[in-house]
């Protein structure tokens, strides 16, 4: 059994990376390995937007990640600097920046890059999807 970590750096619907990452995550778990966490960086932070509303016959990536978390308690960490730059924030960041809306909430968590490095150290393999 191995501990995997995933780094997702592609945006949903612009890049196939998040979808590949999600399929990889399910495959890893189906084979009895562990998934230590998923870290969203660069354009990958868009995966965390709770405001995405794709057509009903398309996969909602936000919901698919949330489901992965519900089923397997996989942490979903989002780089705060990359997120704020791109207009993704949780309620407390929205208040701090005087914004009228927020689009990031649990199970996604805003965190620093230190969390990515920690994930890399903890996992036997860190796989990048970009």
């Amino acid at each position: 059994m191995m501990q995997y970590g995933l780094l997702v750096m592609g945006a949903p619907y612009s890049s196939p990376a998040p979808h590949s990452a999600l399929r990889f995550a399910h495959a890893v778990l189906a084979r009895g390995h562990q998934l230590a966490g998923v870290f969203f960086y660069h354009d990958g932070v868009h995966n965390a937007s709770s405001l995405m509303a794709p057509p009903q016959d398309e996969l909602n990536m936000h919901d698919a990640w949330a489901e992965l978390h519900q089923q397997h308690a996989v942490p979903l960490d989002v780089c705060i600097a990359a997120a704020l730059r791109r207009g993704l924030m949780n309620e407390s960041e929205a208040q701090r920046h005087g914004k009228q809306a927020y689009n990031l909430s649990p199970p996604f968590e805003l965190t620093g890059l230190g969390q990515l490095l920690e994930l890399q150290q903890r996992a036997d393999r860190l796989i990048t999807f970009a």
Binding site: L7, H42, A81, G112, L113, G114, L117, L126, T128
Partner: protein, 121 residues
């Protein structure tokens, strides 16, 4: 050359056409700030990040050269550049900032093997 626990950050994108370079350097700086030894490898268009005579970014973008100049302060002293990338762009090391180390492309696999932690941007 191998340092246990060292992080190799690979930069393959030029400045200003995306935030790959800036966010890649951010990851390198954070790792160094956490006390992890960090090495940088510039490949392909990534070597353009090291051009010493570059101004600020395209409209609305911060320059990245000041970050490159700051690496030494963070004890990031290993800046590898592949010879092939330099030749491919008709550049010599004279055009680059101080302190880069040239590496043949065939040495890259060995370098990757020496690092158990790699992030590619």
């Amino acid at each position: 050359m191998a340092t246990p626990n060292a992080l190799l950050v690979i930069i393959r994108h030029a400045p200003h056409n995306s935030s790959w370079l800036r966010e890649g350097l951010d990851a390198a700086l954070v790792a160094a700030a956490f006390g992890q030894p960090v090495h940088l490898l510039f490949m392909g268009q990534g070597i353009l990040a090291l051009l010493k005579e570059q101004g600020s970014g395209a409209a609305g973008q911060k320059a990245t050269l000041p970050t490159i100049d700051m690496l030494e302060m963070y004890d990031i002293e290993k800046l590898w550049v592949t010879e092939e990338a330099l030749k491919g762009m008709h550049l010599t090391t004279d055009a680059l900032v101080e302190g880069v180390t040239l590496l043949a492309e065939q040495q890259v696999p060995g370098l990757l093997q020496q690092h158990s932690n790699i992030l590619s941007f």
